[in-house]
Each structure stands twice: as C-alpha cells, then as structure tokens.
C-alpha cells in the first residue's frame, strides 16, 4: 500500500472534457513511490487521456495533479503551493531538483524536465531518421544544454561540454546494453524491428532520468518472448532505479505479473483501485471487461474458471 503511505503522484478530481464529451470524470488515484502502477480499462475508458493530462499534452478541464520528488505528497503542502499561484516549488529553483509540482499548471516540456515525468507513446514516436544512439543522446538534452552554456560555450568546444557529452555517452551505453541494442547503436531508429523500437523508446525515456515513467501500452504488438523481455526490463527499472512506473496495458499477463497497484477505468470513471489480486476479483471489473451485468458475474467467473 505504498500509494497510500508514500505517494509520488496524487491525482484529485481530474476531469477532462472535449466539447460535449467527458473523457475523464472526477478521477482520483495515487501512484506510490517505487511501485509499478497499472492503469487498465476497456477501450475508450480514457486511459490515454489521463496520461496526456499527467504529461501536460492536454490541459485538464479541472482537477489537481501533484507530484512530489524527495518525499511523499503532503496535501497541506500542495494546498499551500496551489494558493500561491506558483506552478512548482523546488530546491534553489534548479531544473531537476527535488520539489513539489502542480502538473496541471505546467506545460508539457516543463513536466518532463522539472517534474521529471517521462513517457512513451501508443504509436511509437522515435526520431526515426536519427540513430539509436542519437535518440538516447537527444533525451539528455537538458543537462547537455546546460553544460554547453546554452550553445555558446559548446560552440567553442569547452571542456565542460566534452565531459558532459562523455557522461551522456556513458548513460546511453548503459541503456543500450540493457535493451540489448548495442550492436545496432549506429543504425537508424526507424530501421529497427517493432519490438526493439518499443524497448528503445523506453530506454530513451529512461535517459531523461525520470522519477515517474509513463508507458502507454508498452506490450502492444509484442510477441510472447518480447513481452517477457519487457517484463524483465520494467522490473530492472523499478528495482535498480529510483523510477516509479505508471503504465497503460491491455495484456493482463503483463499487468498481473508485474504491477504492484492497479487502477481500473471505465467510461472515464474509476471503478476499482487496489492490488492486482483485489482488482482481479472485483465484480465490477469483471463486468466491465466481459460486458455483463453484475449478477451474471458469478456465472461468468465459473465459466472462465476464476
């Protein structure tokens, strides 16, 4: 129950309307620090919309999304910050420093570099004309930009920049090894097979050194072996890095096997929230997935052998 004890992200009353359509309605949930949290639900439940709100690509109609690095989200602290009108509060106002961030107020790239939330996309968005290595280097833009003295020092080949680039290379190498793509580092990202592209996108997001990694259907289109590799990769991230994971997934084998916490959406509403076991046995969830009334659930359960 880390999401209660030590929440990294607290979403409160999130609502997103597109014209007349309410994609997400008054949604509240927390993401625990160090957890793998899965956001599941039938097609059109509003999962990707939640992702786009958290990562700043959509401005939510209303609601609060507070992320705290360094310590659990404390609601009194968040309320105090919200009343000041600031978007975030962090140590020395440094990019990448610990602090409290009100994500609904921040533009997408600020969420990525200040609040350190990284994401992948449902339809892979790699820089396909750049090499695998370049993809991983671009992800380290923020520290490299600072080291290059906002380009000016870099233009004259300052040693500080060369050191930073070497450090970036080291990190890139590390992730290349983890996704087993070292041998293809200098090939165009667009030339990789689909499964490799998925892993590369995750590695690229990890290169930004995130506290929260949001994965939008990472197992979509993977074969069973690749799916297994993905599980290993995600566990490595959780166990060896200070990165929590929030993922959208349809593949229940992935969800049930690796997640610590599952939130279920249907028609933009939260219908269940808890450990994988508790969610698995929640009649509402079964009904939502199988499209049957609650009273028929027992019967269906018997049929599917639960």
């Amino acid at each position: 129950m880390r999401w209660v004890r030590d929440p990294l992200l607290v979403v409160e009353g999130l609502t997103m309307r597109f014209g007349g359509l309410t994609a997400v309605r008054d949604l509240s949930f927390s993401v625990g620090r160090g957890d793998i949290t899965a956001l599941i639900g039938p097609n059109g439940a509003g999962k990707t919309t939640v992702f786009n709100c958290i990562t700043g690509f959509y401005k939510p109609t209303s609601g609060l999304m507070a992320l705290s690095t360094g310590g659990p989200v404390r609601l009194d602290e968040v309320a105090a910050l919200a009343s000041t009108g600031h978007r975030y509060k962090c140590v020395d106002d440094q990019i990448g420093a610990d602090g409290v961030f009100l994500l609904e107020r921040m533009p997408d790239f600020e969420i990525a570099r200040r609040a350190r939330v990284a994401r992948t996309f449902q339809n892979i968005r790699l820089f396909s004309g750049m090499t695998v290595l370049e993809n991983l280097i671009v992800a380290q833009h923020t520290p490299l930009m600072r080291a290059s003295g906002w380009t000016i020092k870099g233009l004259f080949g300052a040693p500080q920049y060369r050191q930073a680039e070497a450090a970036a290379m080291k990190r890139a190498r590390y992730w290349l090894e983890h996704i087993e793509l070292t041998h293809r580092a200098d090939d165009a990202a667009g030339s990789l097979p689909y499964g490799d592209q998925r892993r590369l996108e995750i590695a690229r997001a990890m290169c930004t050194d995130p506290v929260l990694l949001c994965l939008d259907e990472p197992a979509a289109g993977l074969n069973p072996r690749e799916s297994l590799e993905l599980n290993t990769l995600l566990r490595t991230i959780r166990d060896h890095h200070a990165t929590s994971i929030l993922l959208i997934e349809h593949d229940m084998s992935v969800v049930m096997e690796i997640s610590d916490h599952v939130v279920v959406l249907e028609y933009g509403l939260r219908i269940s929230d808890g450990t994988p076991e508790s969610v698995r046995n929640d009649p509402k969830v079964i009904a939502a997935y199988l499209g049957v009334d609650d009273d028929e659930v027992a019967q269906v359960e018997a049929e599917v052998g639960l």
Partner: protein, 304 residues
C-alpha cells in the same frame, strides 16, 4: 453613404473574382493536401486566353454581338484553361504522389515560375490593354449622389452566382462530388472502395482550372489590362480567401473571397491604396495564426 455603397459594389465584384480562384485552391488542398502554387498563374494564363479569343472573335471572325462573343470566350476559355490545369497535374504533381512531402510544393513553385515565364516569352513582357467592352453603366440615385453599376460588374455577379450554384450542385449531388469528398477524407480507403482516385484528382484540377478561367475573363474585362505577372498577387489573395473561409470548404472559399475583395477595396478607399496588398497579406498571416480552421473549416486537433 453612396461612396460606401459604391465601394461595397466594387469590393463584391473583386471578391467574386477572388472567390472563383479560391475554389481551385480549396478543392485541391482538400483532396491532395497541397497548396497548388501554380493556380494563380493558371488564372493569369486564362486571362490571356480570354483576351486573345475575344480579339480573334471580334476583329477577325466578325462576331459583332458582344454577348455572343463573351459566351464563346467563356466556354472555350473554360475548356482550354481546364486543359492547362489537367496537364499541369499530370506532369508536375501526379508523378510525385506519395513521395517526399515537400516535393509537390517545390514542383508547384517550379510550375508557377514556368507558366509566368512561358507567357512572358510568348506574349511579351508589356501590359496588354484589352478592348473595352460592356461599358454601359447603370446609375442608381442614392442620397445626395448616385451609385453606378457597370454592365461588367453586373455580368460578373450573375455569372459567378450561376456557376457557383451549378458547381455546388455537382459537388453535392453527383457521383463525382461524392468521390471527391471520399478522397478528401481518406484517399487510400477511397481507392480500396473502388473509387478511381487519380481520375477524381484530375477532375478536381479540371474544375478548378475552369473556374479560374471564368475569373480570368472577369479580371480581364474588369481591369481592362492583363500582364504576365498578374498571377501571383491575385493568387495569394485568393489563397487567403480560401484560408479565411476555411480551407476545404467551398462556401467558405466564396465567402472568404468576397470578404477579401471587400477588405481590399475598403482599405484602398478609406486608408491607403499603397498598403492594400500589405493589408491582404496581413490578413492571411493573422487568420492562419489565430484561426487556422477559418470561418467554416473543421478545427484540427493535435493528436498525441
């Protein structure tokens, strides 16, 4: 007051011409998603075609009735300009379908340069004064003075209205119109459903060319002078009209055309004639920046 009404009439006349050209832009953009840069020059060529045909008919073939001459010029001009538009699509755009996205734009710019210089080479660089026709004016008393409508202006209104209605009927009611709208939505799917996409695109260019030729005839008779360089500025203004109305929308193109015509005329009448083109270009920029879907277009949502 009568000054204003007079400017209103002049503005709507000019706007009709822009609207006719704008339809060509809007249809082509709708169907293949490119700005047909050469369209303004197709319009310019059509003005020359109209001019030459008119002289040919009245001076050499002995057609004395100006009405008959204009009718022949209109029909023949539509046919010949449509041919130009068709050939341009076949040569400069079709081979590039599905290639690098910038290629058709560059090809279109090249085509525009070619057409401009082709007319300059074949017809000479000087302005050509057309025979003056339909000079009678109708004077309507109003307030202390009066407002005049020339036969030319009346003709422009009437022809534009008839053509637009006919054209509207084609797009709304016929199989071609349906095919066109299907191609706009999803070209690949339309092809899978058995629509001849190439033919539909060709016909779009043909219709665009035919309408531009009407605009060319109007332009020639309204201003009484044409030059090889007359394609660019009206072309950009007509494109502005298409964008203002909402690109892809036919009524939008006409409304946009009328608005641009009015704005240009009013700007010249009340502010400064020197900066009328600056006004038109500024509107283009402002509309694209602040309301890129125009008056009647569909909004475009960024997909993540």
């Amino acid at each position: 007051m009568e000054y204003f009404v007079q400017q209103l009439i002049n503005g709507l006349t000019l706007g009709s011409i822009y609207g006719l050209i704008a339809i060509g832009y809007t249809m082509v953009f709708g169907i293949i998603g490119m700005v047909n840069f050469a369209h303004g020059d197709v319009f310019m060529i059509s003005a020359f075609i109209a001019l030459i045909l008119l002289i040919l008919l009245t001076q050499f073939l002995g057609v004395t009735s100006i009405g008959l001459a204009l009718l022949i010029v209109l029909v023949a001009g539509m046919f010949l300009t449509a041919l130009w538009s068709w050939v341009i699509e076949r040569i400069a755009y079709r081979p590039l379908a599905g290639s690098f996205r910038l290629a058709p734009l560059i090809s279109a710019i090249g085509m525009a340069i070619f057409l401009l210089n082709f007319v300059q080479v074949t017809q000479g660089p000087r302005n050509k004064a057309s025979p003056s026709i339909l000079n009678n004016v109708m004077t309507i008393p109003m307030g202390n003075g009066s407002v005049t409508i020339s036969e030319r202006q009346a003709l422009i209104f009437i022809v534009t209205a008839i053509l637009l209605l006919a054209f509207w009927a084609i797009v709304q009611k016929t199989k071609l119109g349906r095919a066109q709208r299907a191609c706009e939505q999803d070209r690949r799917m339309a092809a899978l459903l058995g629509i001849n996409v190439d033919r539909t695109i060709s016909l779009t260019f043909v219709i665009g060319g035919a309408l531009a030729s009407v605009a060319g005839l109007m332009f020639m008779s309204y201003y009484g002078v044409v030059s090889f360089s007359d394609g660019f500025t009206p072309g950009v203004k007509a494109f502005t009209a298409a964008v203002l109305g909402g690109i892809g929308s036919l009524p939008g193109a006409v409304i946009g055309g009328l608005l641009i015509g009015l704005i240009e005329t009013m700007w010249s009448a009340y502010f400064s004639i020197d900066y009328k083109d600056v006004a038109a270009f500024s509107i283009l920029a402002i509309v694209l920046i602040f309301m890129p879907s125009g008056l009647l277009g569909r909004p475009d949502v960024e997909k993540v």
